[in-house]
Symmetry: C2
Subunit: 302 residues, 2 copies
């Protein structure tokens, strides 16, 4: 499918998890609390329900199941939904769009590791279940469907062991994290150094991927119940702050071989943000960015 | 001082309030709780202490009184500080910089109306005291020093009466607000309509001005104690969200004569942000931006 000799690569394609993924794949000890995918007359219903967790009363909005684009989307996706969003359906969609190879991110699963008070063992079990399912999903064509492994940082040991497992046992080419902080520990904290060391050792990129909602603090959440205005800001702002943690916080200085992607959040803000970081570095970098040996934007050029 | 026939106008110049401003100018009923300006060996110490409010334990950072730029700033500002940052000192600084006329914003006073549980009567008294002092300050040259009035929105009636007072009694050319929400009510809420109506009636612009810290929720506060990384984001993010409230929330649709400024937060992010808002409008504007008659960026061109 290469175009003029170039292969087309999608660094951020989403799969639609079956609603019973976690009930089927999770360690049976956690099955009763496993998230259930919500289904409704909306073929793109992406909701997720935790049977033992109260509904998030802070949110009254969410992606609308109405509006002028609703019917159009129902028509586009109805056949895919009826066929269960399988790996073969995914490959068909990639053919339609002219994509050779894609890194795959979750949809329902994007929000399940954002609870600030999550039990670390349950979180790790949800991540393992997702990765086991994703490995089966990618079997439809492992050369075109590349898994991005879900890892839980509620207990860093879980993140380390799961990163190694998906890379070595499943051949996944990356792992992913949400950039908004769920455990009070920012990404440049020494706490995470073992994870960045391991990613360098395994030569494995990490992709940061946010969603427009979160059970933990997230930029623009105060726009609720107006989910549409919240969505203008939530993903780009969290990714901009994640980039700052890695650049200004010295993570990329300490890990020159590390590769990090910040996904699905636009990028035309980047020239402004790098200038803004450089301005901060010039003003007070010796106090607040002590690990940096050069201006933040220079790491981006490296 | 006009340059090539043009006058030089600064839309966002800061004054440095004397530490005893509020003790001297506030309604005596509130004098015991009035904020005191902190002073120290740092001639630019901008701290403010509320004698009856505990120190903000969330913050361990703040503008550093150290680092490679500290001594340079001490030299630049020592003479101004020793002469009490008066109106005449301000005019001298404007002469040095070649500025004909400036709209004046506070420094110590920028943070005093950000407490989420503030007594509305005390808040209104602090605003009145600041405006009374500012009117005296501007008397050094009322044609070059233009006050931006401080208004308290803890009780909207206070904001309305003080807006009218500073415009009609003092000839102030604008009022200002912080864009980060301090009372849980977003700027596009119907609650604020009387204020926007009054600003239109008085033909008075409102300037939104943030600072790098706040006692209420603010973007990037989770970077504390690293105040330097927090500062990269805090002001621009709050102003970007304020702009979204006015554009996407329909305030500028409902108030075509209203003029709003978003200050001290850069602007090279604007093309991206307008595109991002337009994308949201295209996707779900009929659901979440129901008041808009055109895309958000079109209001900017109006």
């Amino acid at each position: 499918m290469a175009k003029n000799g170039f292969k087309v690569f999608d660094s951020d394609m989403h799969i639609m998890e079956p609603p019973d993924l976690w009930e089927r794949y999770i360690d049976p000890a956690f099955r009763d609390q496993a998230p259930r995918g919500r289904t409704s007359e909306n073929v793109r219903d992406l909701g997720t329900i935790f049977p033992k967790v109260p509904k998030d009363t802070r949110r009254t909005g969410g992606t609308p199941h109405r509006g002028r684009n609703y019917d159009k989307n129902q028509d586009i996706y109805r056949s895919h939904a009826e066929r269960g969003w399988t790996g073969h359906v995914q490959l068909e969609a990639m053919d339609t769009e002219g994509i050779d190879t894609a890194v795959l991110f979750p949809t329902r699963g994007l929000g399940i590791l954002t609870f600030p008070d999550q039990d670390p063992r349950f979180a790790a079990a949800m991540a393992r279940a997702y990765n086991d399912w994703l490995h089966d999903f990618c079997a439809a064509d492992p050369n075109r469907l590349l898994g991005a492994g879900m890892i839980s940082v509620y207990n860093l040991e879980d993140a380390l062991s799961e990163t190694r497992r998906v890379a070595e046992d499943y051949g996944f080419r990356s792992v992913f994290l949400r950039s908004n902080i769920i455990n009070g520990i920012n990404w440049y904290d020494a706490h995470y150094e073992p994870l960045w060391n391991l990613l360098e050792e395994l030569n494995l990129p990490v992709g940061f991927h946010v969603a427009s909602a979160s059970r933990s603090r997230q930029a623009a959440e105060h726009f609720e119940p107006n989910f549409g205005i919240r969505r203008v800001y939530s993903q780009p702002f969290e990714q901009m702050m994640g980039l700052g943690a890695f650049l200004c916080g010295g993570t990329l200085e300490r890990h020159p071989k590390m590769r990090v992607a910040f996904l699905e959040a636009n990028c035309s803000w980047l020239p402004w943000l790098l200038w803004r970081m450089d301005e901060g570095y010039e003003r007070e970098g010796d106090v607040f960015m002590p690990d940096l040996k050069m201006a933040p934007s220079d790491y981006f050029k490296r």
